[in-house]
Amino acid sequence: MENLNSYLIVSAILFSIGTIGVLTRKNVIVIFMCVEMMLNAVNLTFVAFSRHLGNLDGQIFVFFIMTVAAAEAAVGLALIIAFFNNKQSIDVDDVNIMKW
């Protein structure tokens, strides 16, 4: 049980770091990386639970998450490129035409 807890704590910390990164960083790529970090924190949680519970569902889930993250990365980077094409910037402060 102690084992599990440490894994969970690590992943929670990782998740929080990711979250805070999203909130504080200005570079879109970095923000996206922070999101990836959150996803990986989740992966860690899943794996830990899977191991602890002794069933494979969690690990299967992790595979799906990784696949999806890859797809997301593909689409996301494409969007970032399109944005960069128009604005010559990937600073989130410039992602601000629409507001109010």
Binding site: T19, V95, W100
Partner: protein, 664 residues
């Protein structure tokens, strides 16, 4: 004939409809006048026939009710369109149709060439119909139709010269004041209806039924409330304190209107109403006292104002108010038949006076018009010495003046003296009787004074009118003078119907006639009257003599001031300027009412509208909207456009949610 009582109001109604709807097309004054006059004359004929029939019946059978159709039937409440014939209403219809016919006839001449000739006759007919409904109504509600109907016609006729602002104002004032009275009438009606219904399961507003059940009413208490309310109604209609100020203003209407409505008929409605419900009123000693006191007070109060007015019609108006005060005094002391009697004689002589003044004004107006003068045709200061130019008018006017002044042998004497005597001798109000009598007597003195002042200023002395106009002064045509003569005759002879017993020459026909009507009221009144020593005949003779003396004194003063020493009035004014100004300005009652009611009401209305409605209520309504809109503005700017802010809001949401569950 009783069955056909509905014809009486019907004829004027037909006249009204014809003249009102088609008058404009008819154009011919003779036809319009004939229709109007014949309509009311028809009623007069029917009234006469009814009177004959009633005379032929024994006293106890002189009550007849004719239900025309059911009007408002709802729940327990029942009011039929129904007429009640009894000696009282019989007198009233005679007066209304009789005097009405004469005044219609007079109007044909007087209103000649007026723009809204047809309109005038239509209204006049409508008035007669309403007045007849009022007096014939067998329940309070039919009476109330007439009650408000005459108010309406009064409104219409006062505002006849609608292009004059003063006429419009006066009309409105009259109607509104009457409405104040109606308010009282309605509350009184409700109270009575509710009391009978809830206590005795008698749900009625029918006079006969109430009369039959009147023994159930307690003395005082709820009856006082109800009757006081009714009395408020009466003060409105009959121009008593405090609701009298509309009547003098009502003189804005054409003179025949003043004669018919504001002297002979409508204004007496309050008196009639009290007479009609005497069996209720008399059950409340307090109300009776109030009526007597208000009547006496009005009599003296209006009389004082009458002494200082210069407008011929205004003098007569105040005189009317004052005379109505006498009638109320009579009602208040339980002298019901005397009051009604005075009502009748007053109708004769006051109608005659008004018509006479109309004749004068007519002539003056014509003369002034001829020389393009803008002098006031109604101002007595412009008159004087008219007796030679207008002999018939003068004689009839003089006769009526003598009648009103209370000179023996003329009708006014019999009725007024009866009232004063009863005020003195009736034991209803204990020791107050002397005071009431005293006030009445003084008022009578004033009456004699100002009426003769009027006569002297108008008909005697130097002619003060522009000398060029003088030659145009002329006696009025026959259509005008015939009614004057008839009324003048009645002003003399009418009194003999109700000669006091003590004179012994004739039986008091009038009192006998009305006896069945007021029998019950007198019986109830007798229960609480202070039975003292019965006043002696000697006293009665003495007081009668005294009242004659008083009248003569009044005439004497008037003679001194306005014929012999014409500089006296000016001296008097100079000596007591304040008093004169107060009297001349009608004791500032109008101003007082403006100050107390009218202006505060307007100000309150303005405040409620601009201050409360717009600012507070709408302010709250729009305020809610504005607050929401303000929030909208705030929320809007929370939407900063920055991704990290959005992410922060999400994260915050998660933290709050989790935090709540972890730490709860």
């Amino acid at each position: 004939m009783f069955e056909n009582v509905w014809l009486i109001p019907l004829f004027p109604l037909i006249g009204f409809l014809i003249n009102g709807l088609f008058g404009k097309k008819i154009k011919n004054e003779a036809i319009i006048g004939a229709i109007g006059t014949l309509a009311i004359f028809g009623s007069f004929v029917v009234s006469c026939l009814i009177l004959m029939q009633m005379i032929g019946l024994p006293a106890e059978q002189r009550v007849f009710e004719k239900v025309l159709f059911p009007w408002i039937h709802c729940g327990n409440f029942k009011a039929d369109m129904a007429f009640l014939l009894d000696p009282l209403s019989c007198i009233m219809i005679m007066v209304v149709t009789g005097v009405g016919t004469l005044i219609h006839l007079y109007s044909v001449g007087y209103m000649h060439g007026e723009e809204g000739f047809y309109r005038f006759f239509a209204y006049l007919n409508l008035f007669c119909m309403s007045m007849l409904l009022l007096v014939l109504g067998s329940n309070m509600l039919v009476m109330f139709i007439g009650w408000e109907g005459v108010g309406l016609c009064s409104y219409l006729l006062i505002g006849y010269y609608f292009h004059k602002k003063s006429a419009g104002d006066a009309a409105k004032k009259a109607f509104v004041m009457n409405r104040v009275g109606d308010f009282g009438f309605l509350i009184g009606l409700f109270t009575l209806y509710w009391w009978f219904g809830s206590n005795h399961n008698i749900w009625t507003i029918n006079f006969t039924e109430i009369k039959a059940a009147s023994h159930l009413l307690p003395y005082g208490g709820v009856v006082t409330v109800a009757t006081l309310c009714f009395f408020v109604g009466a003060t409105g209609k009959s121009a008593q304190i405090p609701l009298f100020t509309w009547l003098p203003d009502a003189m804005e209407g054409p003179t025949p209107v003043s004669a018919l409505i504001h002297a002979a008929t409508m204004v007496t409605a309050g008196v009639y109403m009290i007479g009609r419900m005497s069996f209720v009123f008399v059950k409340s000693p307090e109300t009776m006292m109030v009526i007597a006191v208000v009547g006496a007070a009005t009599a003296i109060f209006a009389a004082t104002i009458g002494t200082a007015q210069n407008d011929i019609k205004r003098v007569l108006a105040y005189s009317t108010v004052s005379q109505l005060g006498f009638m109320f005094l009579a009602m208040g002391v339980g002298a019901f038949s005397a009051g009604i009697f005075h009502l009748m004689t007053h109708a004769f002589f006051k109608a005659c006076l008004f018509l006479g003044s109309g004749s004068v004004i007519h002539s003056m107006h014509y003369a002034l018009h001829k020389i393009h003068s803008h002098d006031d045709a109604q101002d007595m200061r412009n008159m004087g010495g008219l007796k030679s130019a207008m002999p018939i008018t003068f004689i009839t006017f003089l006769v009526s003046t003598i009648a009103i002044a209370g000179i023996p042998g003329f009708s006014g004497f019999f009725s007024k003296d009866e009232i004063l005597w009863q005020a003195f001798s009736n034991p209803y109000h204990g020791n107050l009787n002397v005071v009431l009598w005293g006030i009445g007597a003084v008022a009578a003195c004033f009456t004699a004074f100002y009426m003769f002042r009027l006569v002297f200023m108008t008909f005697y002395g130097q002619c003060r009118i522009n000398s060029k106009a003088k030659e145009y002064l002329h006696e009025s045509p026959f259509v005008i003078t015939i009614p004057l003569m008839v009324l003048g005759t009645l002003a003399v002879l009418g009194g003999y119907l109700g000669m006091p017993k003590i004179l012994g020459m004739l039986p008091n026909y009038f009192e006998h006639w009305l006896e069945p009507v007021f029998e019950m009221a007198n019986e109830y009144g007798g229960k609480y009257a202070h039975h003292g020593a019965h006043p002696s005949h000697a006293l009665e003779w003495g007081l009668m003599g005294l009242s004659v003396v008083i009248a003569v004194i009044g005439i004497g003063i008037a003679f001194t001031m306005y014929v012999k020493n014409t500089e006296l009035p000016a001296k008097f004014v100079a000596t007591f300027p304040g008093l004169h100004r107060a009297v001349y300005n009608k004791w500032y009652v109008d101003e007082l009412y403006d100050f107390i009611f009218v202006n505060p009401c307007k100000a309150l209305g303005q405040f409620l509208w601009k201050g409360f409605d717009v600012l507070v209520i709408d302010g709250v309504v729009n305020g809610v909207a504005n607050v929401v809109m303000a929030f909208s503005g705030v929320f809007r700017y929370l939407q900063s456009g920055y991704i990290y802010n959005y992410a922060f809001s999400m994260a915050l949401g998660v933290v709050v949610m989790l935090g709540y569950y972890i730490f709860k």
